[in-house]
Symmetry: C2
Subunit: 145 residues, 2 copies
DNA sequence: CTTGAATTGATTGATTGCAATTTAATTTTA
DNA sequence: TAAAATTAAATTGCAATCAATCAATTCAAG
């Protein structure tokens, strides 16, 4: 054990986290292609399917993304007629994002995706739950910063 | 519980994985800035500090990255005089990447980084180990694809 | 009221990440 | 051996991601 062992790739937690995240996103690709969505666009739609109407700030807080990522992505979803973007009348700084009928209809096509991805992970339900809990704990620390 | 509950953001494993990965990368930013490295460049250096000499294919297999990502990144590290890029003499298709003296010296400046990041995650050692094991299991499934 | 601070999104620039294609070199096979 | 298949890396094009900055709006203190 020399002093440099702490720098070995296999001793870092960050690396499997980073790699696993990217690999899971690849699981989604063939499932999302028929819907015409990228992974990040899918996450935005997931949120909007639940809430229907949200502003950019709330969307960013929910997904840990900032306007630099969201602005072009939302414009793209708007150009696909899945959402509308309108300024709030009470506060002109706020941009309200809302699903269209077409956007909401897309939800039905996504229903089978979670189960298919879950099967690909190779984790049992218990393992998924443990992983889930640990990740949210980590995210809690990140938010606390 | 309606049929759409499976599409709730908080019922997806992919989301905390994706968000936690990005948040951890942000932990590294202030620690890597003094070294002049980005997170991905740091991962490449971690691998090369261990092996010193590798080709692009091996590097890609290790980090789950392809030449589209690695080629420009390695050119950047070369321009910073941290590595050299040379074609193999036995097989001209193969590009050998190797650390320079300057590249190896940078290692000493990175020694404290893992401990500092680990502290920021807010996870106990046991939790880190569980998380680590689950992520590698997931990565195993991905590799098996 | 008015000035200064805070907030919200948009923009810009650099880096990643990846799929798809291309080029060059090597290996296999007919 | 010649043609076909394979392999390694580079290139291209598009979409993220994020830091930093900017502009417009709102809010708050004096």
């Amino acid at each position: 054990m020399d002093e440099y062992d702490v720098l070995k790739l296999e001793n870092q937690l960050c690396f499997p986290l980073y790699a696993a995240s990217r690999e899971i996103i690849k699981f989604y690709k063939p499932l999302l292609d028929p819907l015409g969505l990228t992974y990040t666009q899918y996450l935005v739609m997931l949120v909007l399917w639940q809430r229907r109407k949200m502003n950019v700030k709330e969307l960013g807080d929910t997904l840990f993304l900032d306007s630099g990522t969201l602005t072009p992505l939302l414009k793209k979803l708007e150009s696909m007629s899945l959402i509308t973007r309108t300024r709030s009348e009470e506060d002109e700084r706020v941009l309200i994002v809302e699903t269209t009928v077409k956007g909401r209809r897309l939800r039905d096509k996504a229903l089978d995706i979670p189960a298919e991805v879950s099967a690909l992970t190779g984790l049992s339900q218990d393992e998924s739950l443990s992983l889930y809990a640990l990740l949210y704990k980590l995210l809690g620390s990140a938010k606390a910063e």
